[in-house]
């Protein structure tokens, strides 16, 4: 425990400062602060889910630049299946399932066929755009809404309770759980140890009796279901519509957040929140009169902030060792 604290001192100090600042702002500016936090979390939800997809993939050694496409396909499938079947549940399942299929596509092409991972991701994105815009049909509506839940106990924590646990959609709550689970899974379980080994140094895993390709395929495929859920969130929860290209680059942002989060689920979670908060600030600046910067420029704030943070912090960031490379066994 003590060594853990010593190791993570900077992180802990920053985290403490941020939390204190958040509470101060919350109590000092109670008319807008809560809404900005809610807004930040709103931005962050799909990014959290999608960045987990990136984390799992890259920790296993597979770059997933196709998250955008996976989300788009899932948003499409979820929305239209729900609309046509009249069942929200069917929609969610279809969305998650199609994310899974898209994940399996990426897994199979890159791991089994050793297609270049970036190319496979780009192909996935183009295919997703092509299919979803070609087969888009207007005029459908969802048969219901994703249920909102309030978590007893947790919801009464000041600030945190309001933002994360009060009347939150089930998917948002799941995103929190997923981040925690993936974190614990990666760093505390057998699956995680093996996954990290496979992503860092696959031949070491292979010689230790681990089936590298199988684990990679499973991970990338299952991660696809999280991308699917992110897509479902976009078309069935955050908005109630599917539109062409509605993912609007969030899959790519998620990759940036994954890197800012140093390939760690909980840090990615905080970085998504950070990004969401800057976006909320940018919108708020537009609405708070008397601020002279044009909206086109304030709109770039989150991206500029991301670049600045990376430029300052990136030196220490290191990607998993084998990411991007297919694992080729000795006699192939």
């Amino acid at each position: 425990m003590q060594t853990w604290i010593a190791k993570n001192r900077t992180t802990l100090v920053i985290a403490a400062v941020v939390v204190v600042a958040a509470y101060v702002f919350y109590y000092a500016k109670n008319d807008i602060a809560p809404s900005m936090y809610v807004s930040a979390w709103g931005y962050a939800i799909p990014l959290v889910l999608a960045s987990l997809v990136g984390v799992i993939g890259e920790r296993s050694g597979v770059v997933n630049i196709g998250i955008e496409g996976q989300m788009l396909i899932a948003a499409f499938a979820g929305f239209f299946v729900a609309a046509y079947s009249g069942s929200m549940l069917a929609g969610v399942l279809a969305g998650v399932g199609s994310g899974l299929v898209a994940g399996a596509f990426l897994a199979w092409t890159t791991v089994r066929w050793r297609m270049d991972q970036i190319i496979a991701g780009v192909v996935l994105n183009i295919v997703a755009t092509g299919i979803t815009s070609f087969y888009y049909t207007p005029g459908q509506i969802l048969p219901g809404v994703i249920p909102n839940l309030t978590v007893p106990g947790l919801s009464s924590i000041p600030l945190i309770g309001d933002v994360f646990f009060t009347g939150e959609s089930a998917i948002a709550l799941f995103a929190i759980v997923a981040a925690l689970l993936v974190h614990v899974g990666l760093f505390r379980t057998r699956w995680g140890l093996r996954t990290r080994a496979v992503g860092e140094y696959p031949s070491a895993a292979d010689t230790a009796g681990i089936d590298v390709e199988r684990l990679r395929i499973i991970n990338v495929t299952l991660a696809g279901s999280l991308a699917g859920l992110a897509g479902v969130y976009l078309s069935m929860d955050a908005s109630s519509t599917f539109e062409r290209s509605m993912t609007a680059g969030r899959g790519f942002l998620a990759l940036a957040i994954m890197i800012m989060g140093m390939w760690r689920p909980l840090r990615a979670f905080s970085m998504a929140l950070f990004f969401g908060f800057i976006s909320a600030v940018a919108s708020q600046l537009q609405q708070t009169g008397g601020f002279a910067v044009p909206p086109q420029l304030t709109g770039t704030l989150p991206y500029v902030a991301t670049l600045v943070v990376l430029a300052v912090a990136a030196g220490r960031v290191r990607a998993p060792g084998a990411v991007g490379q297919p694992y080729v066994k000795k006699d192939q």
């Binding site: 379980t189 057998r190 093996r194 860092e200 010689t207 230790a208 009796g209 681990i210 089936d211």
Partner: protein, 499 residues
């Protein structure tokens, strides 16, 4: 009979890596595999471990003849293996590496405590000290090799395969390892041991199989043979094991290092107040346990690493701030320690690799345009002169065997007649035939007037090649002596920090 191999055959495309190999290993026996680079040793043992599937033939372990599907299968049958290249996850701790693949789990979570305990017990039992919580990438190579061995021993092993485990070890570490091997054998474990060092074969093995071009060309009991006979069997001709060289006639000082300080990748002091001079026409051997600043010293000299403080001068040129480009063009030839990483570009042809640091100079480039005829002519000449075995100069360098890759590097670095030649581990993992050749070229370079700085973890190499020896410990020179006065055990003592 613990291991029984019958008629094992494996080819890669047109290369017959193993041809109809039959051999056996008894319980508690240490069997050495000898052979030149590319003779098929690794291929053979990789088939025992399930990493490579044989084309035909059988491998039976304890009488079980079923095909070994994968390493998992091999492990289950009691095979453990230490691979030629480390198979450790650098960013994980020793305990995590050791438990990988057979993790103990409690309540769904990894039980790291029991893994730590296991590492401690094993390392006590075999007297291989390691800290279970250290991250592997922070460990010196010798210790990493210990982790590899612990990893293999952490499972039930009846047959232990060691593929060139001593290539990166110091003499002391090697002796420790040989001791462990003997103990294991005495307690009933069978061992297959691959090495290029005949001394080790003679010291520890019971029997020797010699491979040449994929075939078993001989099998002898160790007690019935000696180094010369083994070498002859391996290469198929007589090999000169000692180096034939005249006394040095040192000239002017070429390289002068004064109070040099250089940090390693983690920012810790690696070279710490080192001073050394090398004169034209002499070979100065730097002896030392790996990890005592040799790598950083060479990289600093080559301009690949920032110097903290101190002075390095090549004749009139200040090397402290020079980059690799200026260093090279000032006449420094550099045979790098890690040839795959620094020495060659695997996807390039041999020809391109032979001009890797001269590509923008005449005659290989005119006004920025590359001159392929000149590049090719140069390659043809060097291929001939350095006996680089390949199908042609346009073959990709990555497809060459280790020894031939090294010859490409050596050829390149010697072809421009350097004033200073730095050779870092120039014969690591290279077979005796090629070692002989490379050593001869280094001596020739010296005789042509080059100053040679030889860095090697191979004490025998240092002793036989150097004219002067500098022993380093803790990043500084702790003793300097004439090679003629050098004493093996004395140097070993100094290397270990006893001074």
């Amino acid at each position: 009979m613990l291991l029984d191999i019958r008629g094992l055959t494996k080819s890669f495309g047109s290369v017959h890596a193993n041809r109809d190999i039959s051999l056996d290993v008894r319980r508690g026996e240490i069997v050495a595999l000898l052979g030149e680079n590319g003779a098929g040793k690794s291929t053979l043992v990789n088939q025992i471990f399930g990493l490579i599937t044989p084309d035909s033939g059988t491998v039976s372990i304890k009488g079980d003849e079923r095909r070994i599907k994968d390493p998992r299968d091999a492990i289950a049958r009691g095979v453990g293996m230490v691979h030629q290249h480390f198979q450790l996850v650098p960013v994980m701790t020793v305990a995590e590496n050791v438990m990988l693949g057979h993790e103990s789990v409690r309540g769904g979570l990894l039980d790291l405590d029991s893994a730590r305990r296991m590492v401690r017990e094993l390392s006590e039992k075999h007297r291989l000290a390691v800290d279970p919580d250290a991250e592997v990438e922070d460990l010196p190579v010798g210790t990493q090799q210990r982790v590899e061995i612990l990893k293999a021993l952490s499972r039930r092993v009846d047959l232990l395969i060691l593929d060139e485990p001593t290539a990166v070890l110091t003499p002391q570490e090697t002796d420790e390892l040989l001791g462990v091997m003997r103990e294991l054998a005495n307690s009933g474990t069978s061992i297959v041991f691959i090495t290029h060092k005949l001394r080790e074969v003679l010291a520890v093995s019971d029997r020797v199989y010699v491979l040449r071009q994929g075939e078993v060309v001989g099998e002898v009991a160790t007690k019935d043979t000696d180094a010369t006979r083994l070498a002859t069997m391996m290469v198929g001709r007589e090999v000169v094991l000692s180096i034939d060289k005249t006394a040095a006639t040192p000239g002017d000082t070429v390289l002068e290092i004064e109070d040099l300080h250089v940090s390693d990748d983690r920012g810790l002091a690696a070279v710490d107040g080192l001073s050394l001079t090398v004169r034209a026409g002499e070979i100065v051997g730097v002896a030392g346990v790996e990890g005592n600043g040799q790598r950083e010293l060479v990289e600093a000299l080559a301009g690949m690493r920032k110097v903290g403080s101190g002075r390095m001068r090549l004749k009139d040129l200040d090397l402290t701030t020079a980059d690799p480009y200026r260093t090279h063009h000032a006449g420094v030839g550099h045979i790098p320690e890690d040839r795959e990483k620094h020495g060659i570009v695997g996807t390039y042809s041999i020809a391109d690799n032979l001009v890797l640091n001269e590509f923008d100079q005449a005659p290989y480039s005119k006004s920025g345009v590359r001159q392929f005829d000149a590049i090719r002519a140069n390659a043809e000449r060097l291929r001939e002169e350095f006996d680089i075995r390949s199908s042609g100069v346009m073959q990709t360098a990555g497809s060459l065997s280790g020894g031939n890759k090294q010859k490409v590097v050596v050829a390149r670095e010697m072809s421009f007649e350097p004033t200073l030649l730095m050779a870092a581990q120039p014969t690591r993992g290279v077979d005796v035939g090629s070692i002989e050749f490379i050593h001869r070229r280094i001596v020739e370079a010296r005789d042509a007037g080059a100053a040679v700085l030889l860095v090697s973890a191979e004490l025998d190499e240092i002793l036989s090649l150097s004219d002067r020896i500098a022993v380093v410990h803790g990043g500084a020179v702790v003793a300097e002596m004439d090679a003629a006065d050098a004493d093996r055990t004395e140097i070993g003592r100094l290397m270990a920090g006893d001074h």
